[in-house]
Structures are given as C-alpha cells and as structure tokens.
C-alpha cells in the first residue's frame, strides 16, 4: 500500500534511497544535506534497509567509494551540498567517464567564501560539465519521484551515466510536506535490480580506464554526449510511465504552466518555479498573457523544448539563482544559445535572484514579469542582466 508521510525533503530522499533498494551508501556530513544520511543510517541500523553504510572521511572518498561499489556491481547512493560537492569535483568526472549509474542528491547551498548555509545553485551548476545528468526539484514529492526515476534512467543501457537530483537547502530540505511513498512492489516493478555497463569480474578480467591515447579518447567523449541525447529522449517517456503507474508526473524535461498563448514565459529552476506559478495566476487575473516554464532537467539541456516555447513567446525572462561571474546566469546563457538559430526569436531578459538564500517570492516574480513586459512593449531588453532586490 502506498503511504502518506509528512516529512522534510531530506528525509524523503532517505525514503527514496530505501525504496530504490540502494545497496551501498557512502556519505559524509555537511549542512544542509546531513539529515538525509542520518535518516538512511537509521534505516540501515534498524534493519529496514538492507545496505552497507560507509561512513567516509570526506566527500571525495564518498564518491570514490560509490565508484568502487558501483564498479563492483551494486546500486549506490550518496548526498552532499556545496563545498562537499566541490571537493568531489574530480571524482564526478571519473564517475561519468566510468559510465557508472550513481545517483546523488545535492542539497543546494551557496558557495563560500563567505560561509553561507542557504540555498542557491552555484554548487551544482559549477558541476555542469562533469557529465552528470542534473535534475532540479520543486517540492518534496518530486524529490521522491525523481530519485526513483533517476535510477531507472541512469541504469538504462542507452544512458549509463550518473545523476544528481538537486533540491534547495532549507526551502525543501528542512520543510515538511505530505508525500506519497508508493507501494514497494510497484516501485520494484518500475525499477528492476541494478544494471550497469560493466562490472569488475574475476572471470572476465579487464582493466578499466588505463591510459587512452588521442587515437581513442574522443570517441569515449562522443559516447557520453550520445548518452545525454538518449537521456533527453527517455526522460519524458519515463516520466509518463511513472505518471501512469503512480499518478505523479512532472512534464518530462520542462514543467510548463500556462505557456499556451503566453507573450511572456518566465523560465526558472527549482522552487522558484512554484512561486512563478502563483505569480502567473495573479498576472493572468489582470489579463496579462504570462506563462511559466520550470527547467526540471538542466543536463541534458532541453534545447528543443525551449525552442518550442520560443515559437509562441515574445519575451522569455530567465531567473537564475546563480551567477557565472564575468558573464551572466547559466540559464540565461543556455536559453539564448538554444534559440540562436531561430529566425523569429523572442527577446530574452536575464534576472539574477535569490543568491545565498535570499527570498524569491511570487511578488518578486510579478515584478520581474512587469519589467519584462515593459521591455517587450518598448521592443528591447534594456539591461542584459538585472539583479533583483539588490541593496542600493
């Protein structure tokens, strides 16, 4: 029987790791991730979850242990935040290059200096090019469902890549919401036992990842890109199947809201996407043709979906909880890059908001929408990147 629990996204992530039957969990504490691995420790020690729990001495070792375990043939799980993720950086490249289907929850937290424990996406977006799939969640139910979906996707032979499931610190990690924990048999049916592209095997002794000369290296990179493209095709299919089975569905790559006939589409990631829906409702009440598109999957980036949205919109406003110093938010850059070859492009306005946990409410977003619509009226975006709620 499915069961409703009221709990934080972090604890829900623990429930999901258990439901996915992860067999090796390697973890190191960091705020605001810690309560995930505390929950899993409870599950393992009470015998509710049959897994080996490796209490490593650093995040680098957490990822290394997951790589070792995944290569030795079991499903793995870990979780981290901010500096912990940064410390893993090298190992993230190794995991994707090794094509190991590791699933990791990233509880988003701003990077220091200075210390901040509050959310933004600068941690996970800094890992954009590591070859990991990246999902961004908007509520606790989506956290549970995305973790299960991520395993299914990563272990598909057309993909065999690791995935990050990102959720914002405190906004989700420590916020209680009701969540449906689906029937275990049905989850088992959706998610078959662990599968990977290769396994250490004494009966078939191979050497993994020795020196690869320029003669061969590029092909291995190309295959990762192919796997990303395959994932882009598979994510909506898996999301739809999941929806049929469990009643929860998230729009595949992009969670679209009121985008039909919208002049303005507000493009977001994570929880800002929820606030954007409220803002859209309010603006629509005033007769403004506004929609919202929440990028649920950032890698692979949903280029084709963005183009479809651009066909109907006259302006797209991107809200980045992130800044690539010396340029702009990644979301702004990538939406622009997606549309470059279109003939009749909409305007694109980039907004930076919510860094280091500053609130981004529906009111903030209504302000962004009003400004964008004003620029649309004038026929040009007056500021390439606008920082929202910035102190004078």
């Amino acid at each position: 029987m499915a069961q409703i629990v009221i709990d934080t996204a972090n604890h829900i992530a623990g429930y999901a790791a258990k439901a996915a039957r992860a067999k090796v969990v390697a973890a190191y504490p960091i705020t605001p991730q810690t309560t995930i691995v505390e929950k899993i420790a409870e599950f393992v020690e009470s015998g509710e979850m049959e897994a080996e729990y490796i209490r490593v001495e650093s995040e680098h070792s957490a990822m290394a242990a997951c790589i070792g375990a995944a290569a030795a043939g079991v499903r793995t799980f870990t979780a981290t935040s901010a500096h912990g993720l940064a410390l893993m950086h090298e190992a993230l490249h190794w995991a994707s290059g090794a094509r190991l289907p590791i699933v990791m929850v990233v509880v988003n937290r701003a990077m220091g200096a200075p210390w901040s424990i509050w959310p933004d996406f600068s941690d996970s977006l800094s890992q954009r090019d590591t070859g990991w799939l990246q999902f961004y969640c908007a509520d606790n139910q989506e956290v549970f469902d995305t973790i299960i979906q991520a395993y299914r996707l990563c272990e598909d032979e057309r993909v065999f890549l690791p995935a990050m499931v990102c959720l914002e610190g405190f906004l989700l990690s420590h916020t209680y919401m009701p969540v449906q924990i689906h029937n275990q048999n049905e989850i088992d049916d959706f998610l078959p036992p662990y599968k990977s592209g290769w396994t250490l095997d004494v009966n078939n002794p191979v050497t993994h990842a020795n020196l690869v000369s320029p003669e061969w290296y590029m092909e291995f990179r190309y295959m990762i890109q192919e796997a990303m493209e395959n994932a882009k095709r598979l994510i909506p299919e898996i999301d739809m199947e999941y929806g049929r089975r469990f009643g929860f569905q998230y729009g595949g790559l992009v969670d679209k809201y009121q985008c039909e006939n919208a002049d303005l589409i507000i493009c977001t990631m994570g929880t800002i996407g929820c606030e954007a829906k409220v803002a859209v409702d309010n603006l629509r009440k005033n007769g403004l043709k506004v929609g919202a598109a929440r990028i649920r999957v950032y890698r692979p980036f949903p280029v084709e979906e963005i183009r479809k949205l651009a066909l109907q919109a006259r302006i797209i406003a991107t809200i980045d909880r992130h800044i690539s110093f010396g340029m702009e938010g990644f979301l702004a850059s990538e939406v622009k890059a997606s549309l470059y070859h279109m003939e009749d492009k909409p305007l694109i306005a980039g907004f930076i908001a919510g860094l280091g946990g500053r609130d981004v409410t529906f009111k903030t977003i209504e302000g962004i929408a009003q400004k964008s619509l004003k620029w649309l009226e004038r026929g040009r975006v007056e500021k390439e990147t606008e920082w929202i709620d910035l102190r004078e």
Binding site: R99, G197, W198, A209, N210, M223
Partner: protein, 93 residues
C-alpha cells in the same frame, strides 16, 4: 577476445583486455642480451623470480628460457645468478 576498430565496436568506457605485449615487443629496448649457459645452470629459478618482465619462463625441469621478444635486457638475471651461468652480451646491430 577481440580489439575494437570502429566506434561501434568500442566499449562504453575503456575496458582493456589482457595482452602479452601491451607495450609492443619490448625486446627491442635491449642493448645487452642475457645468454644462459645451460651446462653450468643449477636450475635454482632465481632468475625467473627476479625478472621484472616475466620474460623468463621456468621450464618443466626448472631451467630458464628467456623470451627475447620481450626481455628488456636489464641484466638482473645475470647479476643475481649465483653461479654466473648468465652473461650479458652486446646486441648486434
């Protein structure tokens, strides 16, 4: 066991297969060549155990057989032979 040529034949991540001569015929590195005098060899097998290259095979009767395709000519076998039954001779051009 087969080695890939095209991209389609490649594994998804580098999985290399055990191969004698993974670095080619390393015998070509040699400038001096160990030569065994079987009449004085006592079959103690020390040359076999100390060869860094595994280029000395231990025959059924424990006498050594040097594989010149792979012997790099380091000279450890000659240096360690307790009865000096192995000598290092300059390779001919």
């Amino acid at each position: 066991m087969s080695f890939p040529k095209t991209r389609k034949e490649m594994p998804l991540t580098p999985l290399s297969l055990p191969t004698v001569g993974s670095m080619g015929k390393t015998g070509s590195w040699r400038t001096f060549k160990p030569v065994v005098n079987y009449s004085t060899c006592t079959k103690c097998t020390l040359c076999w155990i100390y060869c860094p290259d595994g280029a000395i095979t231990r025959r059924e009767d424990d006498s050594p057989e040097i594989d010149y395709e792979y012997c790099k000519g380091c000279g450890i076998c000659a240096n360690e032979c307790p009865v000096k039954a192995i000598t290092m001779e300059r390779e001919e051009e």
